[in-house]
């Protein structure tokens, strides 16, 4: 009798378990397992920003000399610092490198914090009193020899935009005037599907970028001898577009293109690149906002040439 009671009790509980399991399968029809546990690994992990900056408004003079901090949480890396003011790439030097350049590569050892003094001597700015500063870091800004090695190299991370006053400054202020050469086309329903959006409101402050050659979207390899069409859309924003080659800005005084993103339209910048780029390895496009609302944006990163 005891055994019979126990058996009935056991079966009853098993039935209850079965009901619970079935309910769960309805919620998530894909069964999952952990055969691949521990195969995710960290490639790089770091934080960066102006040391001691807490989000307050700054004056242009504050950028005369300041300390930038890179807090590396993982393996050793190089970070190529780039500074944009009003969307224009700025030249600077560091305490270690006396030459003025648009990008200095800062090496940071494994799990170390690196403080580096940044020195700016002049600016390229729009002719107004309030300016936007956007700072980015290009991961490992050196030549990547093949596609398999590209991984996350040359990815740009950025600190947020900083609003800067330029009153009472002694710095040399240069206004750079570049003519707009981009065109616009309305976004079609087919484009919306490709962008994976149902409404233009799904585009927030981030820009969507695609690069075409011969009317086909460029994938992995880009031919620098052919004309290139860069399509951008997103929430409204004014940017300057730059070309980065082998992880660094390519002749940014000459190759800078003002471009506008807005909902419902693709802005298209067509360009022909110099012949000498054929001998280089890596290329991507960078979009620097002329405000503190939008972010520094980056196209896919391409190998120059063919497979």
């Amino acid at each position: 009798m005891k055994n019979k009671l126990m058996a009935v009790y056991f079966v009853l509980i098993l039935i209850l378990c079965g009901c619970s399991s079935n309910q769960q399968e309805q919620v998530d029809p894909i069964e999952i397992h952990n055969d691949n546990a521990d195969t995710t690994s960290v490639l790089y992990e770091f934080a960066h920003g102006i040391k001691g900056y807490t989000g307050t408004e700054l004056a242009l003079n504050d950028f005369n000399e300041f300390t930038y901090e890179i807090n590396n949480k993982n393996k050793a890396l190089d970070l190529g610092l780039i500074f944009f003011a009003d969307g224009y790439l700025q030249r600077y030097k560091t305490e270690d490198e006396e030459n003025l350049d648009y990008l200095h590569s800062i090496s940071v050892e494994k799990s170390k914090i690196k403080d580096i003094k940044i020195i700016m001597e002049s600016y390229q700015l729009d002719n107004k009193n309030t300016h936007s500063f956007n700072i980015g870091g290009v991961l490992n800004p050196s030549v990547i020899k093949d596609l398999a090695s590209y991984q996350v190299n040359h990815s740009i991370s950025q600190s947020s935009g900083i609003s800067v006053q330029s009153l009472n400054t002694d710095f040399q202020v240069k206004h750079l005037d570049k003519e707009n050469t981009f065109s616009e086309v309305p976004i079609t329903e087919s484009d919306k599907q490709q962008l994976n959006i149902s409404s233009f409101d799904d585009l927030n402050q981030n820009m969507r970028i695609k690069v075409l050659q011969d009317n086909k979207e460029v994938k992995d390899y880009i031919n620098t001898e052919k004309s290139i069409d860069i399509y951008v859309t997103g929430d409204y924003g004014l940017y300057n577009m730059y070309i980065f080659v082998d992880g660094r800005p390519y002749n940014p005084e000459e190759f800078v293109y003002p471009i506008e993103s807005k909902k419902g339209y693709f802005s298209i910048q067509s360009l022909k690149l110099p012949v000498e780029l054929k001998e280089k390895k890596n290329l991507f496009f960078v979009f620097a906002p002329k405000n503190t609302v939008n972010f520094i944006e980056q196209s896919e990163r391409y190998m120059i040439g063919s497979e």
């Binding site: 005891k2 126990m6 009790y9 056991f10 509980i13 098993l14 209850l16 378990c17 619970s20 399991s21 769960q24 399968e25 894909i30 069964e31 999952i32 397992h33 952990n34 055969d35 691949n36 546990a37 195969t39 995710t40 690994s41 960290v42 490639l43 790089y44 992990e45 770091f46 934080a47 960066h48 920003g49 102006i50 900056y53 807490t54 989000g55 901090e69 807090n71 949480k73 991961l139 093949d146 596609l147 398999a148 090695s149 590209y150 991984q151 996350v152 990815s155 991370s157 950025q158 600190s159 947020s160 900083i162 994976n196 927030n204 402050q205 981030n206 994938k219 992995d220 972010f295 896919e300």
Partner: protein
Amino acid sequence: MKKSLIKVTIVSALFMGLATFGPSTVKANSDTSSDYYGSYYGNLVGENQFYKQPGSPLAKRVDLSASVQGSVDYVGVKLSVKNYSTGSNYYSSGSYGRAGTYYHTDWDFLKSENASIYNNQCSAFGTHEFRHSSSGVVYTVTYA
């Protein structure tokens, strides 16, 4: 009688636990985290998870997340799926916002047009990032 019932109850509870919290809820892959990103933002946690069918090497879904304490200008993730031997790009996507935590799930990134990567040949590169007056980023890779 009482002792026997207690034993049966324990065994049954174990069965129930296995049925409810067994393989169907185990996360296939995770993860990375860090403990400090400046005095204001606390933790930035980056996580990739491949979900698979039992007995099959085929990835069916990948989840990414980025989490940071407090509201920031930007928190988001980017996913880039590549052939792990050639580095060829198959798929990229991302999600972002201004909330403290952001998740991104891709159910169907392995579509038939990319059938060549069904044979266990892909790797997912994740970017888990926040941006504010300073910023933090974790780059990860997960192999399917």
